[in-house]
């Protein structure tokens, strides 16, 4: 699974990760997002400075990727056809809290189609499926932490929480950094969407600036004329200490 080429000549880092700022992340118990009520731990988390079990983590090489993995417009479509909807590119950098690019990291994406319909057997929304749209994509960041995907802009989507709750247009994403403690899942929203500030899931995040960092910016400079608009979306993972400050008996 580990592909040395992915990480180029950089020496792997072996330090522990910076403490997570849990005042910025959503707490577990957020009753206006109803499902969290019975799915939130009630006891305090046990704090643990990282051991090797959390400092290490799986790394995936570009060799796992198929040619269309980062192109949701075509990766489920019949030959010669494509998904229906607003064609967009989402691109950006994967960084850590120190501002360093994170190379060779797997980012996975999933989303509804242009009408807000997910391709999932538990989903019953009346908006139609698009026969040429599956809804999953993935990419491995390059040497500087850059990534890009091609997709269609997802539609808003109603859900049984409040009697009339709708999700803003969003793309789910899942990231592996280089250590298992960096594992993160979140959601990307789109600039200017008035639904963002009404959403009980968005509002689980207590910090307005943290929500704004989940909103992708329309980027007309990166837009391809007569083809696709572009949205820029940078993602930040936890930084880590330099191992020169560590005092470990084992390891390096």
């Amino acid at each position: 699974m580990t592909d040395a080429k992915t990480l180029s000549n950089r020496r792997p880092e072996t330090g522990a990760f910076f403490q997570r700022d849990r005042a910025m992340h959503p707490p577990a118990y957020t009753p206006s997002y109803k499902t969290s009520v019975l799915r939130s731990p009630q006891k305090a988390l046990l704090s643990l400075d990282n051991t090797l079990s959390e400092i290490t983590g799986p790394v995936f090489g570009h060799n796992i990727l198929g040619e269309l993995d980062n192109d949701m417009i075509h990766n489920f479509a019949k030959p010669g056809e494509s998904a229906i909807g607003e064609r967009i590119i989402v691109y950006g950098r994967l960084l850590d809290e120190r501002g360093k690019g994170v190379p060779g990291a797997l980012i996975e994406f999933w989303q509804a189609n242009a009408g807000g319909r997910y391709r999932h057997k538990k989903e019953g929304y009346i908006a139609a499926l698009d026969p040429n749209f599956g809804g999953c994509g993935r990419v491995v960041t390059d040497e500087d932490g850059n990534y890009w995907i091609r997709t269609i802009k997802p539609g808003a989507y109603p859900w049984p929480n409040g009697p009339n709750d709708w999700r803003p247009a969003h793309i789910h994403f899942s990231i592996f950094g280089h250590g298992f403690a960096q594992r993160l899942i979140s959601q990307l929203y789109f600039e200017g969407d008035p639904m963002i500030w009404k959403c009980p899931i968005v509002r689980t995040i207590p910090d307005r600036a943290a929500v704004e960092r989940l909103v992708a910016a329309l980027d007309m400079e990166a837009t391809i004329p007569m083809d696709s608009r572009a949205y820029k979306f940078d993602i930040v993972l936890r930084g880590r200490r330099s191992s020169m400050f560590e005092n470990r008996m084992e390891g390096n």
């Binding site: 880092e13 799915r39 983590g57 489920f76 501002g99 999953c136 280089h178 899942i185 959601q187 390891g251």
Partner: protein, 204 residues
Amino acid sequence: MVQSLDRLKETASQTAGPYVHIGLTPNFCDIPGVYPVDLGDTMVNDKTRGERIKVKMRVIDGADTPLKDALIEIWQADADGLHNSPSEMRGAADPNFTGWGRKPTDMTTGECVFETIKPGRVPFKDGRKMAPHLTVWIVARGINIGLHTRMYFSDEEKANDEDPVLARIEHRRRVPTLIAQRDGDTYTFDIHLQGEKETVFFDI
């Protein structure tokens, strides 16, 4: 004034939602042909060293109901206690063992089963050996930020007794929430999200 530390803020977490399978296990949820296999589905092959085991897990909510839409990932050392990771500097891990697995819980029973090997012991920061364990990460609808826990093994009583992480649990009656029970080659590990039997979760 002093120099800025120039730190960025981590991207905020959001729930994985009920349709996490579309992105992370598309073949499991009937989206064939995009990826050849679901990543993390297979951890071992016929050359993997170590004792073969099955680990059966469930995630149970505050109303004693198993989650049928959870997704669990595990990360562990190989039989010699080495991780298949570039950050592992102590030696090369078993090339026939990924160390990482990912399973959705069954949409009817809420169960998932990892076929893996029993991990070797990994040193704690001060050099003491930790007991064999899996690092476990759980996401689902209703879980706003992925939950980290550990799974230890019921037949490693002596190692568990000297484990420096288990030793930090103040309320000793909560220690068994991290210990999977062995029956034949299968360990059963129920993760309780809240209530009397709430599993110990970590801020790592």
